[in-house]
């Protein structure tokens, strides 16, 4: 196996995680805006502000504060919020599940739509219906997810009153209500993702249709659908994996916005609340978590890619 290559990648992953954390810390700390001043309000005397800064450790040099922060982060301890005074880690833990469900379901639904839609658009690419599917994906790509979300609320919550307009119920409370509250947010997120992914699926299926092995399979009696299932799916699977990795960042961002549309109590809404309150500790912690997640999952996709697709292994790696 390409162990050496995986090792190289892993080393680079560690370096990127470190650099990314440094960037996040620098962006929120080196920029103007004094936390102590914000906490005390404008009437605070310089003496009070200085005392609070010392109490919070803000008078330490930048690198010392960074080291303390990142050491805490590695143990999932982000200190306390400057605004509420409560510890940050439990807040994140309680919000994580909502965002994770949204993203997970969003991706699953998107793939379930994109696979058949993309394959159909590929096979029927010279017919009106195939072109229509492609055109639909172009439109889905251009529609802002939050706009789609607003219209889903107007149609299914306000007019038809089939589903709730927003809010969240945990699966422990009621599985049915939990699902009902997730349907519209997941759909708005999945529309965009499905459009993007279906275009990749279409491209890779068209490639398969032109391959000699596909023609051979057809010639020995496989039906078009059968040959596509046998060969197309496998070929598409590899490119699908890459797209999902690449799309993860888009999906995370989309989830932050969608949480706002549907008032879901996830990481995104915590993050936006913290920004409006200038609660830097919470902002740092959540952004770090999201960026690390993107980098780590891209690493995993990269490794999986190396392992699945033998064509990508370097000559001499298979020893």
């Amino acid at each position: 196996m390409a162990l050496r290559r995986v090792g190289e990648r892993a080393a680079w992953l560690l370096a990127s995680l470190l650099l990314a954390s440094l960037l996040i810390f620098a962006a929120t700390n080196a920029l103007p805006g004094d936390v102590a001043q914000v906490m005390l309000g404008t009437n605070a005397t310089p003496g009070e502000a200085a005392r609070l800064r010392a109490e919070l450790g803000l008078d330490q040099p930048f690198l010392v504060r960074y080291m303390e922060w990142i050491w805490g982060a590695l143990r999932f301890d982000f200190g306390e919020s400057y605004i509420t005074g409560k510890p940050i880690a439990p807040l994140i833990a309680s919000r994580l599940a909502v965002s994770a469900w949204l993203i997970l379901f969003g991706m699953i639904v998107a793939v379930l739509i994109a696979l058949p839609a993309g394959a159909y658009a590929a096979v029927r690419r010279r017919h009106a219906d195939g072109v229509a599917v492609s055109a639909l994906s172009q439109i889905g790509l251009a529609v802002p997810a939050f706009w789609a979300g607003i219209w889903l609320v107007v149609i299914f919550a306000v007019n038809l009153q089939w589903l709730p307009a927003g809010g969240y119920v945990t699966p422990q409370e009621s599985v049915g209500q939990w699902l009902a509250h997730l349907v519209l947010p997941v759909t708005s997120l999945a529309i965009v993702q499905a459009s993007i992914i279906s275009r990749y699926v279409r491209g890779s299926v068209i490639e398969v249709l032109h391959e000699d092995y596909f023609r051979t399979a057809r010639a020995v009696g496989w039906s078009r659908t059968g040959a596509l299932m046998r060969h197309g799916l496998r070929n598409t699977g590899i490119s699908l994996l890459t797209v999902i990795g690449l799309q993860l960042a888009t999906l995370l961002v989309g989830a932050i916005i969608i949480e706002q549309v549907f008032a879901l109590p996830g990481l995104g809404s915590s993050l936006l609340l913290a920004v409006s309150q200038r609660d830097l500790g919470v902002v740092q912690a959540i952004v770090l978590l999201l960026v690390w997640a993107v980098l780590a999952i891209n690493f995993l996709v990269d490794v999986a890619y190396q392992l699945i697709d033998p064509r990508l292994r370097r000559v001499g790696d298979d020893r």
Partner: protein
């Protein structure tokens, strides 16, 4: 039927550009003022009606086109000016020196525009400027990648070797041979990136992380429209449609350019 996406894309962009040009010189009412009772239906005075606060929707829509194009195109051009030279450098220089800029831009890839904008907004307060900066920074990695990949391809060609052997300095090779040859790929990326930038800006304004209330961006109009989703859902129609038309225009233009410049891909895309 040939180049239909290209013309369609250019046409849609033309609509937005026309709106921006008209909106710069003339709007029926001041776009940022209360000009009548709120939530009026479309009428002779207010072609698209008024919003919740009594602003004229048509005027705000027109004036939003300019901001959308300025931020979308401005941030992406800035990203290309930084990203393309870095990508060329990274593609021309062998070994780890060339690899480092590519790897650094991969890290930046982990920071989508929204997260950068959130970091800036937390530290500085959100504004048109922080939103543009965030979108520009987030658009850089795509240009580094595309310029690097195209440069690597160009560098394997015989004429580069000929130029190098005949003593042409590296910077001259980059300017005379590499840049013109990777320009088509960069052009396609420009168009695609502007589409993404417009969507990102809309998202930021919607979240209140972009331009302030005095600037009627389409995203902000949608943010305000959501308050009235039960009583006046029609408010959410036009701004969203405008964002979709602008994004679709640049996406189609990008696809059309790709087909035009790289006929091998015509069948696939």
């Amino acid at each position: 039927m040939r180049h239909v996406t290209l013309y369609l894309g250019a046409g849609l962009i033309g609509v937005i550009v026309a709106m921006a040009v008209v909106g710069t010189f003339w709007t029926p009412y001041p776009p940022d003022a209360v000009v009548g009772p709120g939530l009026q239906p479309p009428s002779a005075e207010h072609w698209l009606g008024t919003d919740g606060l009594g602003g004229d929707i048509f005027s705000r829509l027109l004036s939003g086109a300019r901001i959308c194009l300025l931020i979308g195109i401005g941030s992406v051009v800035a990203a290309a000016v930084v990203g393309v030279p870095v990508g060329i450098f990274s593609g021309m220089v062998r070994g780890w020196v060339g690899e480092i800029p590519a790897r650094l831009s991969d890290i930046l890839y982990g920071f989508p525009a929204l997260l950068l904008a959130i970091l800036f907004a937390a530290a500085l307060g959100g504004s048109t400027w922080t939103a543009t900066m965030a979108i520009a920074l987030a658009s850089i990695p795509a240009f580094v990648r595309i310029a690097r990949a195209a440069t690597l391809q160009v560098m394997s060609q015989g004429y580069i070797e000929a130029a190098r052997v005949s003593g042409t300095p590296r910077t001259a090779v980059a300017a005379r041979h590499v840049l013109p040859n990777i320009a088509p790929a960069v052009g396609v990326q420009l168009s695609v990136s502007v589409g993404l930038a417009i969507l990102a800006e809309a998202g930021l304004s919607y979240l209140g992380l972009g331009s302030g209330p005095e600037t009627p961006t389409w995203g902000r109009m949608l943010r305000e429209a959501q308050t009235y989703v039960f009583s006046a859902p029609q408010l959410a129609l036009w701004p969203g449609l405008a964002i979709a038309v602008a994004t679709l225009g640049f996406n189609l233009l990008g696809d059309g350019l790709r087909d035009l410049l790289d006929p091998r891909l015509r069948e696939i895309r």
